[in-house]
């Protein structure tokens, strides 16, 4: 399976981890993040969420983020799966999994990829609320999270 995938279908985190580790004996640590649709956001109930993206650029941007993670940390493999289209609360949106020899680097690279994905990959969320549909606004806290890594180091 490709390192980066954008798809409408659900994914299985266990399978993604297995695909990275099966047959390998040098992986000591896999850090994984799964993001899900919540039923409330900014004080409003969320009934459904629809994800739009910029096909082509999305894959390039995600590949570039994975390459950047490999250049910053001594990690062995990465998987990024991001869903698009309509999603219900409780459904998974995104998976980032990082395999490495040791846990510190796997955790740091996984968090880095999520922070960069949130600010650099061309996805947009539209929420359906009781008051109608609305595009989700970008968050300053996401910019701040991504800015932590600017010095080439980051919190870990």
């Amino acid at each position: 399976m490709a390192r980066v995938r954008v798809q409408e279908a659900p994914f299985d985190a266990g399978r993604e981890i297995a695909a990275m580790t099966n047959g390998r004996r040098d992986v000591g640590a896999v850090a994984t993040f799964v993001g899900l649709v919540r039923d409330s956001n900014d004080g409003a109930a969320v009934r459904r969420m629809t994800l739009e993206h910029y096909a082509g650029m999305t894959e390039r941007a995600l590949e570039a983020i994975c390459d950047e993670a490999h250049s910053r940390w001594d990690i062995l493999d990465v998987r990024v799966v991001h869903r698009v289209g309509p999603l219900e609360p409780g459904e998974a949106i995104v998976l980032v999994a990082v395999a490495g020899a040791h846990r510190g680097e796997a955790f740091a690279a996984c968090e880095f990829i999520m922070d960069y994905l949130k600010t650099r990959a061309p996805f947009w969320k539209k929420e359906s609320t009781p008051a109608g549909e609305r595009w989700v606004e970008a968050r300053e806290s996401d910019d701040e999270a991504a800015a932590r890594w600017a010095e080439g180091g980051g919190p870990a």
């Binding site: 910029y54 082509g56 650029m57 941007a61 991001h82 595009w135």
Partner: protein
Amino acid sequence: MVTVLYFAGLRERLGCGREQIPLPAGTPTVGAVLDWLRTRDGRWAEAFAPERAWRVAVNQHMADLATPLKPGDEVAFFPPVTGG
């Protein structure tokens, strides 16, 4: 000509997802394309008003107002991203 794409809220506000426009004369840049778009009608001037946050990519890489353009380039305008 260059291809111009619009995404998400910007696409909806403009009622347009994709169009072909002439490459601006002189030194063609993203800024020159934007100046040309703003002259069209109120919707375009409003969508790209100074207080609005938007991003631009050229040939699927993040770009800015100074990024030069050549015939056939793909220029995409969109709101700050909200994936993940």
